[in-house]
């Protein structure tokens, strides 16, 4: 089982102020069924969102009258297959009432979760959402029959138009445990005195390793048998309550199918990535950051902070250097986080949330699955890879979505070695343009892609264990809802800043210490002979490499003033891209993957950078 889920073995449910007698109403449903629309309508503006401990999964909670409403991540079933399920599982197990939102078009799939929660004995109301879409697709549902078969209230809704919401609210008072399987319930009853609650008994019987460990009860797992029996019950309910005389294919479905085929999918993906580059790489990284970092932070905020520090420490001495010097803990951290990272991270999360909500992201995963499987990953890994071009630190946290520690290691290492972050990419592009673009840019791109592939192939061979396979459901294509995209962006950005800010402070402190002790200069001196003799670059280029440790773009920017020729620029850029990731991402890698892994990546990237850079220099000399 994955390490990320293992970090949160117990259940610190999000704390919400709840008056005595308040019910915990938990929203549960498959991904993309419109749960958040219910949550927003029921709870209004005063909502608390927090990351579930040890995960990147956000949990929202709010109030409806005296009751507490909790939203959960979209899941297909309750168990511990991934972070989303772990989080949803712990919240569902403590629910007083479950509001299960199901997609009327895909009842065969959605009712499995419904029936599983009914088997847990938790009182429930089913919101039969997208009732209009089902009708349009030729799916006829007998709501009375569905309700009587499940033995819980079923309310048809159209969440995007808020239709049926009042009826759902009223029905919550009538929530009741539905019809389970008597034979299964007998088996659960036999376990109850050992596990405590019925939901726990069910998950123990379904061989959930975490609930078994938590309750200290382990029995011979019967997951396959229980799942198959539940599947039969669900199919019987669907057969009785749903008719689909004829299914129609609309334009969205046809477009959705075309997007996973290379002929249409690859050009559309290329266009999408190009558009992202124009928005983030050119506009945000250039224009916006130029203003926030240059004008605002360096123009006003830093001088003010330096003045404030100076009044306390005086304008010279070690304390001043550490707090407000070149890598000042106060000055550099603030500029870096607010001036540079914040605009980039907001822009990235805005675009990624839009892609996610439109249903396009899973299609990118499908399209890239084959390529990714060649390097021991599956299509899902495309998400952290794309984010890596924004910020390696942010992307490293996102590797938590991958299915195994093996895949997380491969993805983390690939990004740390071979993917330039947006800050660095901006300077790289400018330098390539200065080198005359064309051939040099092509050579740079080709070398980086080659190295990326080779590292991936090597890691896939060397690392023990087995990677997981792609098994995802493609949601229909939809227009994203701006409010949802904005909320997601806001919370993801806030969580990111909250989680990493301390690491940037620590990074600045470490660098200041290296500088005041002279270690930084020593390191530059150490690299100089290698830089001149092996790479054929001026000795000052070694400063640029070491500065890359501070911030990858500082390093690349340092190359501007050296008056390098075309080949030298190529050598320098290849070397600096492969060279160690910035200090904040190193600290995050250490937190996520451990010390040994981080050391291997760090020393590996120093070695690889100089090795490949040297080979490129020698080859270019011959050609």
């Amino acid at each position: 089982m994955s390490a990320a889920t293992a970090t949160a073995p117990c259940c610190p449910s999000p704390t919400v102020d709840a008056p005595a007698g308040a019910r915990r109403i938990v929203l549960v449903g498959n991904p993309n069924v419109g749960k958040s629309l219910f949550f927003n309508a029921f709870t209004g503006l005063y909502v608390d969102v927090s990351n579930y401990p040890g995960t990147t999964v956000a949990v929202s909670s709010g109030h409806m009258g005296d009751d507490v409403v909790l939203d959960t991540p979209g899941i297909y079933g309750v168990s511990s297959f991934n972070d989303e399920e772990t989080v949803a599982r712990d919240i569902v197990m403590e629910a007083d009432v479950v509001l299960n939102v199901v997609d009327a078009v895909h009842l065969e799939r959605d009712l499995f979760l419904t029936q599983q929660i009914i088997d847990m004995g938790i009182p429930m109301v089913v919101a039969l959402n997208m009732a209009d879409e089902a009708r349009a697709k030729g799916v006829e549902i007998d709501v009375e029959e569905l309700s009587s078969r499940l033995a819980v209230p079923v309310v048809p809704t159209v969440a995007v138009r808020r239709e049926g919401f009042d009826q759902v609210r009223e029905a919550l008072a009538d929530a009741r445990p539905g019809r389970s399987d008597p034979e299964l319930q007998e088996r659960l009853a036999a376990l109850l005195d050992r596990t405590g609650t019925r939901p726990e008994a069910l998950l123990v019987l379904e061989a959930d390793p975490f609930v078994s460990a938590r309750t200290g009860v382990s029995v011979e797992g019967q997951r396959d048998a229980i799942y198959q029996d539940r599947r039969r019950r669900v199919d019987a309910v669907v057969a009785a309550a749903v008719r689909h005389p004829g299914s129609r294919t609309d334009l969205g479905a046809r477009l959705g199918r075309a997007l996973v085929r290379p002929l249409v999918g690859v050009p559309v993906l290329a266009l999408t990535l190009f558009a992202m580059y124009e928005v983030i790489g050119v506009f945000v990284a250039g224009t916006v950051v130029g203003f926030t970092e240059g004008t605002v932070m360096q123009g006003y905020v830093e001088p003010f902070l330096r003045g404030a520090v100076e009044r306390v420490t005086g304008s010279s001495g070690v304390a001043y250097s550490i707090l407000a010097g070149e890598f000042g803990v106060v000055t550099m951290t603030v500029t870096y986080i607010l001036g540079l990272l914040l605009p980039l991270v907001v822009a990235f999360y805005l675009l990624m949330s839009t892609l996610e909500d439109s249903g396009y992201l899973p299609r990118i995963a499908a399209l890239s699955d084959r390529l990714m499987s060649g390097i021991g990953l599956n299509g899902r890994a495309i998400i952290p890879m794309i984010l890596g071009f924004g910020c390696i630190t942010m992307a490293t946290m996102t590797t938590r979505i991958l299915g195994s520690e093996r895949e997380r290691r491969i993805a983390t290492a690939l990004m740390a070695f071979a993917i330039p972050c947006s800050a660095q990419l901006g300077v790289v592009v400018a330098l390539l343009a200065a080198a005359g673009g064309g051939t040099i840019a092509l050579a740079y791109g080709a070398i980086m892609v080659l190295i990326f592939g080779l590292i991936g192939l090597a890691l896939d061979r060397v690392l023990p264990g087995k990677s997981t396979d792609l098994l995802i459901d493609l949601p229909p294509l939809r227009l994203p809802r701006p409010r949802n995209v904005l909320t997601k962006t806001y919370h993801k950005t806030w969580m990111f800043l909250k989680e990493v800010s301390l690491y940037f402070v620590a990074g600045a402190l470490l660098l200041s210490l290296l500088e005041v002790t002279g270690a930084l200069q020593g390191l530059q001196g150490l690299l100089a002979p290698l830089t001149v003799g092996w790479l054929g670059l001026p000795s000052a280029a070694s400063n640029a490499f070491v500065m890359g440790f501070v911030r990858r773009d500082f390093g690349a920017a340092g190359l501007f003033d050296l008056g390098l020729g075309g080949t030298q620029i190529l050598v320098a850029l290849v070397t600096i891209t492969l060279f160690v990731p910035c200090i904040a991402s190193v600290l995050i890698i250490m937190k996520e993957r451990g010390k040994a892994f981080t050391a291997a990546v760090w020393f590996g990237s120093v070695g690889l950078a100089f090795f490949v850079g040297g080979v490129v220099a020698k080859l270019a000399g011959v050609l």
Partner: protein, 75 residues
């Protein structure tokens, strides 16, 4: 034969899914051993696209090679 060999556009019956977690996940999607799915198609340069009850499910090729199926035309 396996899912990889299924002819596009034709229904097949799932006989065996030789992976514990994938088998459980498929049952949740509505596909168990014995289920007849609408169609399975290996996408060029991509995974296998399974259609079942208006759903589209992507199955990585390695996993698809561990799913045994038989022709279900006329079944």
């Amino acid at each position: 034969m396996t899912l990889l060999d299924a002819r596009p556009g034709r229904p097949v019956r799932i006989l065996k899914i030789a992976d514990d977690q994938a088998r459980a996940q498929c049952v949740r999607f509505g596909i168990g051993e014995g289920t007849i799915i609408d169609s399975a198609e290996t996408l060029p340069l991509g995974p296998v696209l399974v259609r079942h009850c208006r759903q589209e499910i992507c199955v990585g090729r390695r996993l698809a090679g561990r799913v045994l199926v038989e022709d279900a035309v006329g079944a």
